[in-house]
C-alpha cells in the first residue's frame, strides 16, 4: 500500500493545493478528522477550521470554510468555498466580524443558528491566526 496521499484542495476559483502528503487533518462538520494513507473511501461534509498537512517539507496549515471532502483511494479532495493560508487571515477584519455577529439581534431559530455559525467561524479563524 502506498504510504502517501495526494491532497487536492479546490475552491470555485482555483486549485490551491495539489501535492503528496503523508498525513492530514481537516475539520469535519462535527470535529477534526485525521486521515492517514489507506483510509477507506469517504464523502463527508466539512466544517470550518484548520486544515493541517504533513508534507515532505514539514507541516503547513490552511483555514477552510465549509465544503466537502472526498477520499477515493490515495486521493483526498477537499472542495471548499474559501481556503486561506494563515497569512491571508485578516485578524482585525475577523474580530470586527465576530463583534458584528455577537451584537446582531436574533429573534428566531434560523437567525440564532446563523449567529452561532458566524461566531464559530470567526473564533476558529482567530484561534488559528494566533
Amino acid at each position: 500500500m502506498a504510504n502517501e496521499l495526494q491532497l487536492v484542495v479546490v475552491t470555485p476559483e482555483t486549485t490551491i493545493v495539489d501535492e503528496p502528503v503523508s498525513a492530514l487533518r481537516f475539520p469535519l462538520f462535527d470535529g477534526q478528522a485525521g486521515v492517514l494513507p489507506g483510509r477507506a473511501p469517504l464523502v463527508g461534509r466539512l466544517g470550518c477550521g484548520e486544515l493541517k498537512m504533513t508534507t515532505a517539507g514539514g507541516e503547513r496549515s490552511y483555514f477552510v470554510d465549509g465544503g466537502f471532502v472526498q477520499i477515493n483511494g490515495p486521493t483526498v479532495t477537499l472542495l471548499t468555498a474559501r481556503c486561506l493560508s494563515n497569512d491571508d487571515i485578516d485578524a482585525d477584519a475577523v474580530r470586527a466580524e465576530l463583534e458584528e455577529a455577537t451584537s446582531r439581534p436574533a429573534s428566531n431559530d434560523a437567525d440564532i443558528d446563523a449567529r452561532f455559525r458566524d461566531q464559530d467561524r470567526a473564533r476558529a479563524m482567530l484561534a488559528q491566526k494566533k
Partner: protein
C-alpha cells in the same frame, strides 16, 4: 493644396486610431488568456462537484431538495443579465440584450412579473435608454469576477427561492463554447434542473467504490445542491468574462485591419491629389509661357 492637406490630416487621424485599436487588441488578448486560465482552473471545482453528485446517486437516494422542486406557478421571475462594463466589443452586448428584449416581450404577454437584474454598465444604459425598469444593477464585475461577489447574489436567490418570493431565475449571458464560438443564451438556473455538468458523463472507472457518507447522503445532498448552483452561476460569470475579451479582441482586430485599408486608400488619394496639383501647376506655367509668345 487645400484638398491634399485635408487628406493628410485624415491620414494622421486614422493612423492614430490604428495605434489605439492595435493596443486594445493586444490588451484584450492578454486579458483573454488570463480569463481563460481562471475559467479552466474553476472547471475542476465543478467537475468534482458532479463527481460527488454521481457518487451520491449511486447511494440509492431520492433527490429531493427545495432548490430542485418546480414551483406550482411561475409568476415572479428574475432575469439576470450579464453585459460588459465597457464598449468596443462588437456584437457582444447587443446579442445578449436582443435575447433580453424578446424575453421581456414574452413576459409582458404572459403577464408574469419579471424582475431584471443587470450586471455591467452597457446593459444598464441600454435599459435606461429603452426606459425599462430594472430591480438591481451591478457594476463591480470586471474581467475577473470574484467568487465572494457572485456568492452574495447566489445566496439572495436561494433565500428568495426557498421563501417563495422568486419562482424562477434565468440568466442571459454569452456562453463560451470554444475560443472561436460564443453564443448569447438564456438559461434557467433555478429551479436546478440537473446537478453538475450536463456533459459530465461518468466514465464508469470508479464504479463500485463503496463510500462512507458523513454524516449521511441526505445531509450531503442538502449542502451540495446550493454549492452546485453557486458554482454554476460563477461559471456563467467566468464564461461571460472570457467571451467579452474574445469579442473585444475580434472587434479590435477588425478595426485595426480596417484602419490599415483606409490608410493605404487615403495615401493613394493623397498621392493622386498631389500629382494632379503638380500637373495643373505645370500646365498653368506652360499655358502662361505660350500666351507670352
Amino acid at each position: 493644396m487645400a484638398k491634399a492637406r485635408a487628406i493628410v490630416k485624415r491620414l494622421k487621424a486614422v493612423k492614430n486610431i490604428r495605434k489605439i485599436t492595435r493596443t486594445m487588441e493586444l490588451i484584450a488578448t492578454a486579458r483573454f488568456k488570463k480569463a481563460m486560465d481562471r475559467a479552466t482552473e474553476a472547471a475542476s471545482y465543478t467537475k468534482k462537484i458532479s463527481e460527488i453528485v454521481a457518487d451520491l446517486s449511486k447511494a440509492d437516494l431520492s433527490f429531493s431538495h427545495p432548490l430542485l422542486q418546480q414551483p406550482e406557478e411561475q409568476t415572479k421571475n428574475v432575469l439576470l443579465v450579464l453585459t460588459s462594463n465597457r464598449g468596443l466589443c462588437g456584437g457582444y452586448n447587443g446579442a445578449v440584450l436582443r435575447h433580453v428584449t424578446t424575453r421581456l416581450k414574452q413576459a409582458k404577454k404572459s403577464g408574469e412579473e419579471l424582475a431584471i437584474e443587470v450586471a455591467g454598465k452597457r446593459g444598464l444604459s441600454y435599459l435606461k435608454f429603452q426606459e425599462l425598469e430594472y430591480a438591481k444593477a451591478y457594476t463591480n464585475f470586471e474581467d475577473k469576477p470574484r467568487y465572494d461577489e457572485v456568492e452574495e447574489i447566489a445566496d439572495r436567490y436561494i433565500e428568495g427561492f426557498i421563501a417563495g418570493d422568486i419562482h424562477r431565475v434565468d440568466i442571459a449571458y454569452t456562453k463560451f463554447e470554444t475560443a472561436a464560438r460564443q453564443t448569447a443564451v438564456i438559461e434557467t438556473l433555478l429551479p436546478v434542473g440537473s446537478l453538475g455538468d450536463d456533459d459530465a458523463n461518468d466514465d464508469g472507472e470508479d464504479q463500485g467504490v463503496d463510500y462512507e457518507f458523513l454524516p449521511s447522503p441526505e445531509d450531503i445532498l442538502e449542502e451540495i445542491v446550493p454549492a452546485a448552483f453557486k458554482a454554476r452561476l460563477f461559471k456563467c460569470f467566468l464564461d461571460a468574462a472570457v467571451s467579452e475579451q474574445i469579442a473585444r479582441m475580434v472587434a479590435m482586430k477588425g478595426a485595426t485591419e480596417n484602419a490599415g485599408d483606409m490608410i493605404s486608400e487615403l495615401s493613394m488619394q493623397y498621392n493622386r491629389a498631389r500629382q494632379s496639383q503638380i500637373t495643373s501647376e505645370l500646365s498653368e506655367i506652360i499655358g502662361g509661357a505660350a500666351a507670352l509668345e
